[in-house]
């Protein structure tokens, strides 16, 4: 499936905004992303498997909060940076 990467994480993806990853759940997709781009998962998912406060994940147009959310190969995943500043 296609995964859209936000600008804070482009240093992991060789500046690619869109990458491909596999998985039947968000967790599996993230594991595949981390295999391809080591270290990327921990920057957006904490050690308790929660999405970090200023990151958001959408599947197609729906925001998801759980890593066990199911995915279809036709889904598009959007990893977004939430508003944050200061």
């Amino acid at each position: 499936m296609k995964v859209h990467i936000p600008s804070p994480l482009l240093s992991y993806t060789n500046q690619q905004n869109d990458v491909d990853a596999d998985g039947s759940t968000i967790a599996e997709m993230l594991d595949d992303l981390n295999r391809q781009f080591p270290g990327i998962r921990f920057r957006m998912i904490d050690e308790q498997d929660s999405i970090r406060p200023h990151m958001k994940i959408f599947v197609n147009s729906e925001q998801v909060w759980r890593l066990d959310t199911a995915l279809e190969s036709s889904d598009e995943v959007y990893i977004l940076q939430a508003l944050s500043g200061g």
Binding site: P6, F42, R43, E47, G85
Partner: protein, 392 residues
């Protein structure tokens, strides 16, 4: 406890270049100078936009440095450089707490706050302190970090550290990780809040070390733990002499008397009453255990945490706190309301010793004359969290 014989702190005293590692809210910077310490070259920003809490050079390797970083969006990590900051690589396994059992709430590292190279006999070993309070160790030069379970899983940890509200406005922190240069198994830590703690078995177990230190913000002003050390240092030549700048004053502990009680003595009461003895940093002379520098801040009423009266000054004692001398030549004489954070003041090992500090207003000040006269060597940087002096 037997103290060590005096000897040079390190071989660094014969080197030519002094480097300042500047950690800021928006990235890292490196300032370097020659032996005269007059003209400074500027490098940076490094990782612009990253919140950098600490940068530290490994004195055992000479060219390896670590950086504790995160961004507003991304989680905490550690970057490593093996070429004095020219190139960087992220740690393969940054500090992180263990995953909690199903149904239990686990701890999450918000940021890595403090980095300390390990003992000289343990090349590649580093320690990291985090917010919230956690202790982590790397045995491979900062690439992979493991939890020091002796602290992080200690049955008293929750009581020692308190809750999320028992810390600094930026979160409760572990800091002031000091390794006894005679013994890699003796480790000291400071926690805001929590107090000073000591391990004699390389972190397997810990005991509070707060006797004599006040905690006047608690119902019991003399508790066993729950204190707020801002910065604690042990002297490299007399490791049984400890100093701390605490929320409740400036303290010294002398453990050189065999069988004597390990007790903090408040030495800040000899500071001018109009200035007080509240501050964040504590800087030790590399060769003289009786000389220390502090940078007082306003700790009255609502705790502005700015220079008292808007007139910044360092203070030095050359006799273990019996008397103090104000050092403000070259510093602004009025309307200067900055703060110097706990990691943001440091010393080199030259003779005379160079003293350096960074401000919340983004200025770096240097004194190659042990504080007698100050020069501003950098302005307009982001808010400065840490300044470390390194020599090569």
């Amino acid at each position: 406890m037997k103290s060590s014989a005096k000897k040079p702190a390190t071989a660094k005293t014969k080197t030519d270049t002094v480097v300042l590692l500047i950690a800021t809210k928006k990235g890292g910077f490196i300032l370097s100078t020659d032996n005269k310490r007059r003209k400074w070259d500027f490098k940076g920003p490094i990782f612009l936009g990253n919140i950098v809490h600490h940068m530290s050079l490994d004195p055992r390797e000479g060219r390896v440095m670590l950086m504790a970083a995160k961004t507003g969006h991304l989680g905490p990590t550690v970057f490593r450089s093996k070429d004095l900051g020219k190139t960087w690589k992220e740690a393969s396994k940054p500090p992180a707490f263990a995953k909690a059992p199903e149904g239990e709430k686990g701890r999450v590292v918000d940021h890595v706050f403090w980095l300390t190279p390990g003992h000289a006999s343990e090349p590649g070993v580093w320690y990291a302190g985090t917010s919230p309070q956690g202790l982590f160790r790397s045995e491979d030069g900062g690439d992979n970090w493991e939890s020091v379970a002796g602290f992080n899983d200690h049955p008293m940890r929750e009581k020692w550290t308190g809750g999320p509200g028992d810390g600094t406005p930026d979160g409760p922190k572990m800091h002031s990780i000091n390794i006894d240069p005679r013994d890699p198994n003796r480790i000291y830590i400071g926690m805001s809040s929590g107090g000073v703690f000591e391990s004699i078995d390389r972190g397997a177990d810990w005991k509070p070390l707060n006797a004599g230190c006040a905690a006047d913000f608690l119902p019991d002003p003399n508790p066993e733990y729950g204190h707020d050390p801002h910065c604690m240092r042990l002297h490299p030549l007399e490791p049984d002499v400890l100093y701390q700048q605490n929320h409740c004053g400036i303290y010294r502990m002398d453990r050189r008397v065999v069988g004597g009680e390990s007790r903090w003595v408040r030495i800040g009461e000899k500071m001018p009453k109009s200035i007080g003895d509240i501050g964040f940093p504590m800087v030790l002379h590399p060769r003289d255990p009786n000389t220390v520098w502090v940078f007082p801040m306003d700790g009255t009423q609502v705790w502005p945490r700015t220079s008292p009266g808007g007139k910044p000054a360092a203070y030095v004692t050359h006799n273990g706190g019996k008397t103090w001398k104000r050092l403000d030549e070259g510093l602004p004489s009025e309307q200067a309301w900055f703060t110097v954070f706990r990691q943001a003041m440091t010393a080199d090992t030259r003779d005379p010793v160079g003293i350096y500090f960074g401000t919340t207003c983004g200025e770096v000040w240097a004194s190659p004359s042990e504080g007698e006269k100050w020069n501003c060597i950098a302005r307009h940087l982001p808010q400065i969290y840490a300044v470390e002096a390194a020599e090569m």
